[in-house]
Subunit: 243 residues, 4 copies
Amino acid sequence: MRITVWNENVHEAQGDELVLSHYPDGIHGAIAAGIAPLLEDAEIRTATLQDPEHGLTEDVLAATDVLLWWGHIAHEQVSDEVVERVFQHVQAGMGLLVLHSGHYSKIFQRLLGSTASLLWRNEGERELVWTIDRTHPITQGIPDPIVIPRQEMYGEPFDIPTPDELLFVSNFAGGEVFRSGVTYRRGLGRIFYFSPGDQEYPVYHQAEIQQVLANGVRWAAPTRPRRNVTAIHKPEAGWFAAS
Amino acid sequence: MRITVWNENVHEAQGDELVLSHYPDGIHGAIAAGIAPLLEDAEIRTATLQDPEHGLTEDVLAATDVLLWWGHIAHEQVSDEVVERVFQHVQAGMGLLVLHSGHYSKIFQRLLGSTASLLWRNEGERELVWTIDRTHPITQGIPDPIVIPRQEMYGEPFDIPTPDELLFVSNFAGGEVFRSGVTYRRGLGRIFYFSPGDQEYPVYHQAEIQQVLANGVRWAAPTRPRRNVTAIHKPEAGWFAAS
Amino acid sequence: MRITVWNENVHEAQGDELVLSHYPDGIHGAIAAGIAPLLEDAEIRTATLQDPEHGLTEDVLAATDVLLWWGHIAHEQVSDEVVERVFQHVQAGMGLLVLHSGHYSKIFQRLLGSTASLLWRNEGERELVWTIDRTHPITQGIPDPIVIPRQEMYGEPFDIPTPDELLFVSNFAGGEVFRSGVTYRRGLGRIFYFSPGDQEYPVYHQAEIQQVLANGVRWAAPTRPRRNVTAIHKPEAGWFAAS
Amino acid sequence: MRITVWNENVHEAQGDELVLSHYPDGIHGAIAAGIAPLLEDAEIRTATLQDPEHGLTEDVLAATDVLLWWGHIAHEQVSDEVVERVFQHVQAGMGLLVLHSGHYSKIFQRLLGSTASLLWRNEGERELVWTIDRTHPITQGIPDPIVIPRQEMYGEPFDIPTPDELLFVSNFAGGEVFRSGVTYRRGLGRIFYFSPGDQEYPVYHQAEIQQVLANGVRWAAPTRPRRNVTAIHKPEAGWFAAS
């Protein structure tokens, strides 16, 4: 399994001290380090906005089974060409995990056909992540609830299409709720959105969060060869009728 | 529209003073009085466990478009024959609203094929009922969130099948979340489960709760003639092939 | 209710004799004439690709409750600006019916985040449209199946997201099946895709098809004021915690 | 993985020559032999109606990861006690595959809360089984469509709840369609219904059908320890509030 962890890497590149105190190797570095021991059969690389073509060239994507996406303040700096390239690879079967403020990324909005807007408030309040679907591989081995001591609040209404599967719902101390783990299929690709994780709190260092991400990667990995969904067979008249 | 509000009426019949302080005319009486002004075209009757055949004779059900069901401590006293009768009418198109602790009623378990078990705790804590589906007729005109000052907590995991539609999710002050408004179809019938409402708190006197129930009744009301779903057409061989 | 029937109107404008033999007033004219008697409370207007801004100005869309969309060979000629405008109105609550080869329209692909590719073959074969969801208002009063004597075949795999509701599935004489009636929600808007209807066959003159379209319009019509889903409330810290 | 293939075994026990010509070792024998080479890590046993407790004792079920169920003319002879036992094991996490005319079995109706009625006609017509969900593990490696030369027709309306996942839809030469592969979750258990397979036709000898069943078994196998879903935690007041 070949995994690419993408991060806009802007807080880090700007030298934000709070962010760097939690993530000295970048959020991408922390995510990669967190899931690596749980996915021993995986090759994990990272890529960032600052790389040529944001590190997401055709070659890189063609060699990626699952892409993880973290972005926050630089969504607009991601080139439309790269977004379209990722979109096509998802349609063809590449798995995609969209993380936290990545809900507002171009690629997530493009795949959902929705704004993905939500309520938010950053007061470092407690988030409890409750499992809704106890039969799903992504929720396997995850404590119910996950307790995140301090977090940014994301709340409903979350403007997303009805998910294919609702895996987690969060409670925030301030009173809100949020569909914090949802899945979608687009083309031959599987998509998992998971909201816990913020640059100001050390969420990606929690073992339970790392386990969810590793489970998500395994779930999203393609199980058949990648192919262009539009390259369809046009049956000739009477072929089936004659059989 | 013809509505029947069913209540086991046991707390009331036993003279429970707390319950009677909130519901001197019974929970069924309060629900009926609450929705009546919102459903001016409706005939509303009530029925209770203590009535002959629990007040749910074949004639009553045949003349009921939507049945509301409230039960708590006497689920086992409901006769299997009456449960089966209600089941058949739902299959044939009668609407059903299952309320609060009715999640453990025989009829709800029978329709879902699930235990409908859940977490619970009764400490009179605040419940916030958030709207998830903003396009649904049941959520129309409902404040987001509904604030219920004191309530029994119902929490996930709620052991129900994946709902056809997820309308509301509640936050409880103690930290839990709950899918408090969900819909299902069974046969030709529509089912709406709504959890707010308890015998110890005056929830059914809140205008927003009454509006949700009235919206639910309108949504669940059948739009086509009631009929036996098993009385199917068996097409003769070649009928379609020849057409 | 204010309805706008949009048609690219290219077959007609090019003087295609077969198309004009079925639809002398254009496909838009036939659709509008077909649903008008079934929607007596509606104002129905039409718009085409050739109109300034394709007839879909901000003023027209702001005064449209439900938009019907028919396109086939000129999807690429629809300006991105108009597509974006329609997209925003759907998010804000406008209903949308996408018809037949409109599956490949920019607006449908944009709303679904999918290619909407499918199998097809045009041999004028029989299509039978079977009702799957018998409780839905769109299927009310519709014969099961609808028999369309001669049609273009559309077949699975249909590359769309899992529908919110699956209403119709078609059988084609050549052996294929197709999810011919599906619904989605995006933002506050409701979307209904219905595949029967082609420029080479007089499908839109069938009474059952007209009834499905009229039912679809009633279902998709907004039930609350149109508003920008991104104009959200950002709750202040402690507001709910303090209540 | 421990698999139990259950068959009522009545056609066979009665010496039905047509059935025995296809299935000299019984339908259960043919299914077990068909999936065994595809599930090399599995222990496969069979059980029939005629065995004590129908071969489905508490010990057998406790040692079964996935149960396959085939029944046709003897549904009423299955004891309610055994049905309840199977029901409880599914809730606790045992996987279940329901096959063909098993749609009318007590256990399927009990789990769905539906009649599971359908159209049918037995004229030995061609069935084409089309894949709808191309991302699902059950459809992996399956030709699209599967061609079954002669089959009993099962048609819509199929009176089932909205499936969690729609995997296959069939076309019949006579003109009908049918949701021939659907999944559900109940409690911690996964359920897969697959309609191809009949006692009068050698369907279970087709390699593609065997592959679907093997894929279904792998998908339905539990991924966590079996446990009673009603044995829930009742959180004490203030526990979460205090954390």
